[in-house]
Amino acid sequence: MKYFTINAFVLIMLYVLCSTSYAARIEISAPGEQTIPLAMTRLLPMGVGGAKPAVVAEFQEVLQGDLELSGLFDQVDPASFLSDADKLGLRRNEIDFYQWRMLGAEALIKGGYSLSGGRLTIELRLFDVVTQRLLTGRRYVGQVSDVRQIAHTFADQILKSLTGEKGPFAAKIAYISKRTGHKELYMMDVDGHDPIRMTDHRSIVLNPDFSPTRKELIFTSYNKGNPDLFRKEIYTGRESRVSLKQGLNIGGRYSPDGREIALTLSKDKNSEIYLLGTDGTIHRRLTNHYAIDVDPSWSPKGNKIAFVSDRRGNPNIFIVDVHTLDVSRLTYEGKYNATPAWSPKGDRIAYARMDNGVFNIFTIRENGSDERQLTFGQGSKEHPRWSPDGRFLIYSKDIDGGDKSIWIMRADGTGGRKISARGGKDSHPAWSVHW
């Protein structure tokens, strides 16, 4: 048996060595074009019911915005569209793919809509122009007011069929705004549309986090005098205090499975990080140091927590193992590193570094290598948080002169854009899981 194995091995070796094919060998180590040329036609009216250009325009605007942010596409100029763009044909054999090939498009979005009695139906298709295949098709039925949600949902679907992973656009952003004069909790769409105030505490509301499993949020509020941790059910509006220990109850973060909360408590006269059950009972103390320990952020596996500590002098990011309680230091550069946010993909940790009083956003690998600065230029950028798919980051940007608002960018730092309206002194964004 042993001899046989050796013989076989030697034979295979010889075969591999001798069999040099006469085919020319070519290596192509990058695509020639790094965007997908996408042709997005306007929604066309289907069947009965009058045309509603406002709905079409809004749909177009939302979908276009999401797809642009994704960075995947290079949109083919609609001015160059040929006759097929004006035909409703949504089936594969009704489409003149040749026209789209001529325009250089590789992906094609076609869609139709109908309105009857306030019910809006939108039917959408994404085609692969080159192979002439249907990549994804969806029909959405809702109110006219749901048109933005439909567009976001289809954008998520497009990303899913082109990348294998759903987009995060149909989610919600929670954030803190001072629009009323008090810091209150707000929620809005991923493109900043439709902001809603969620609390009326008229005190100080801070640092929200979405439950990964339920439609609820946790946040800290001084509503009862002490900075306590609150929980709010989003649809019922029901609110309760989860943790009201003497001193700080701040920076609450749900574990990835939603069963525990990491929280900074200062009940023992010094801020330390604890694990709490969702009922507020303390499960475990994670840090034990006379220095300041704040700002926990879970690794996606739930076995580690990044946090901020000044135990070596300046605030820096550290990582504690939830099971062994071993602490290791993550950041060494800079004098002030804070607000870590662990990517849901697990590969990188985003944080804000202050230099000359101005924060910028950086990312770093878990092992401390490959640190990258993502934001530059004017204004202080803080509070980075990831989209649930790890493709984007939201953060607050404070441009000197008082315009503090929520911004969004790709995880590589490109495509930054403002999403919350001016004048709210908005901060502390958090991105929900898929809604």
Partner: protein
């Protein structure tokens, strides 16, 4: 919040009715009815401690004089307690801060009935969470120093507001220095 306010009002109303009902014996039927309904209201809400209000009913001349003196000290304390300032990202008391606290401790020892809330604050630079923790360290350092100067620890409570309540919104060195502080609120 609103609900609680209403509850509080109802309880207050009920208590005042009770007190007035006790003072003046003769009560007509409608009054009795109201009393009953308010009691029902009370039970429905929360078990309020009625006994606490009765402590106030003392009338001795000495006590009044004492109270007046105490109130004066209290007023002096409320007025005279000065805030202290800190260096950036520090909660160690500076010499200036210590001399102010020596003065504050004297005022507090004189007004023995006064309880004080020490608030720790930071300037806007730095992360919010970190500053909340830092503010607390500042408040705690202040409290510990006052205790070392003979103020009873149970009279002093602390809270941190981090960078949430600046005195001066400007982005200048002077404003930041003003905002990095611990200040005192007399509690009743």
């Amino acid at each position: 919040m609103q609900k609680l306010t209403i509850t509080g009002l109802v309880i207050f109303f009920a208590l005042s009715l009770l007190v007035s009902g006790c003072a003046k014996k003769p009560a007509d039927d409608t009054h009795g009815m109201m009393q009953e309904t308010t009691q029902v209201e009370m039970e429905k809400n929360k078990p309020a401690s009625v006994s606490e209000t009765e402590v106030m009913d003392t009338s001795a001349a000495d006590a009044a004089a004492d109270a007046a003196a105490a109130r004066a000290a209290e007023r002096a304390a409320a007025k005279g307690l000065e805030q202290i300032n800190f260096d950036f990202d520090q909660y160690v008391l500076t010499d200036d801060a210590k001399s102010i606290l020596v003065n504050n401790a004297g005022l507090l020892r004189a007004a023995a009935a006064v309880n004080v809330l020490i608030e720790g604050h930071c300037d806007e630079r730095g992360s919010d969470e970190y500053n909340l923790a830092l503010g607390e360290k500042r408040a705690l350092a202040t409290k510990n120093y006052l205790v070392s100067l003979g103020v009873a620890a149970q009279r002093l409570s602390i809270i941190s507001y981090g960078e949430e309540m600046p005195l001066d919104d400007a982005r200048t060195k002077a404003a930041w220095a003003k905002n990095r502080r611990a200040n005192f609120k007399v509690k009743r």
